[in-house]
């Protein structure tokens, strides 16, 4: 008799119980948060969340929104400094600056919507994607970065909150045009006719039936 079987016999378990393999272990913890949050505590009602707490939070949010343009302005200055250094620098320095630009753009992207400036999020996202680790760092890309800084400056200067309506759409179009203008189109793929060396033989693979 194996040890497992002996144990099973001693504890009255069946053979299957003794040999069972536990794949998942579960932990069901006491709901400490609920205890701390006071539900069930004497004197704490089960009503809707205190309106005044929400009001207070909303007014804090409003205050942050009022200060937000100043923060963006400071970030745009930082971006412009990075752009200048990237323009003057080459290779490693330029790559380093692009990484910083990308990080700043990521922050702008994450915050714009929270503060009522979704256009900053849109432009931040675009800049973040165009300057990520795999991005090219040619002079054309510097122009693209500049175009992003310009449209974001316009948003903050004119306090274009929300989607900005016609002005917002125009800014998006301006940026799109700038990106297209400075994006180097990939060389056209050579066609069979443009190939100087004619293909002498074509290998045809048998098709599977």
């Amino acid at each position: 008799m194996t040890t497992a079987e002996q144990t099973a016999q001693a504890t009255g378990e069946t053979e299957t119980d003794a040999k069972r393999i536990i794949k998942v272990r579960l932990f069901r913890l006491r709901n400490k948060l609920k205890e701390k949050a006071g539900v069930g505590r004497a004197g704490v009602g089960d009503s809707t969340i205190a309106t005044e707490a929400l009001e207070k939070a909303l007014s804090e949010m409003k205050k942050s929104q009022d200060e937000y343009p100043d923060w963006v302005r400071a970030t745009l200055t930082e971006l412009a400094d990075d752009l200048k250094a990237a323009t003057d620098g080459i290779d490693e320095e330029r790559r380093k600056r692009f990484r910083h630009i990308s990080a700043l753009a990521h922050e702008l992207k994450g915050q714009g919507g929270t503060f009522g400036y979704p256009l900053i999020s849109v432009f931040g996202k675009s800049l973040n994607e165009l300057t990520d680790r795999e991005a090219n760092i040619t002079d054309s890309h510097l122009e693209i970065v500049k175009a992003h800084i310009d449209v974001m400056r316009a948003v903050i200067k004119d306090r274009i909150a929300g989607d900005g309506g016609d002005v917002g759409r125009e800014l998006i179009a301006v940026l799109d045009r700038a990106i297209k203008k400075h994006t180097v189109a990939p060389p056209p793929r050579p066609t069979a006719q443009s190939n100087r060396i004619p293909l002498k033989a074509t290998v045809t693979r048998p098709t599977k039936k």
Partner: protein
């Protein structure tokens, strides 16, 4: 939604951006959270959590109830912090609710966090309502923790699904409740 009072909560905010850090702290205080601690990256957070475990009196707080962490930070980002919190023996509470905050909310990234044992995901930009929603969700719908060969964290299945739709059907004999204090 019940009328909760968060005044006894100790919340840790881990965010590298000074502005966002201050805003999240202000918002948490505004909705009634009693104590908000902040650090500016995952490494600092780990130092603080270690200190809380070793010398809570010196750290000024006995435990952390919820962690809000940004994802992208340097040198120690949100996923590294989450891994440490859930897996390190030095972690003061491997079951602590962990909310990952990120501007990247695509399925792939959310999945990564989910598999590391995140409790909730909060996408930037967020609103007061979504912040409150996460907080009350933690209070009202805590999930059991699951330990398998390659996962430790809150149960990734939030609600029971019909057996027929389950990809992995677990036999009862393969599960064991290690701890039950509910």
């Amino acid at each position: 939604m019940a009328n909760y009072s968060f005044d006894m909560f100790n919340v840790l905010v881990v965010e590298d951006n000074r502005y966002m850090r201050s805003m999240l702290r202000t918002l948490l205080y505004a909705i009634g959270v009693g104590n908000v601690l902040t650090t500016s990256d995952g490494g600092e957070a780990i130092e603080l959590l270690r200190k809380i475990k070793e010398a809570p009196a010196a750290a000024g707080v006995s435990s952390i109830d919820i962690i809000f962490s940004n994802w992208q930070m340097e040198p120690v980002d949100g996923t590294m912090l989450l891994k440490w919190v859930r897996r390190s023996k030095e972690s003061p509470d491997r079951f602590v609710p962990f909310i990952m905050v990120s501007g990247f909310a695509d399925f792939q990234r959310v999945s990564v966090c989910r598999d590391l044992g995140v409790t909730e995901f909060l996408a930037k930009p967020y609103s007061v309502d979504s912040l409150l929603g996460r907080l009350t969700g933690l209070v009202e719908r805590p999930r059991q923790f699951v330990l398998t060969e390659n996962y430790f964290g809150p149960d990734r299945r939030r609600r029971p699904s019909p057996q027929a739709l389950e990809r992995r059907v677990m036999k009862e004999s393969e599960m064991e409740i290690i701890y039950d204090d509910r």
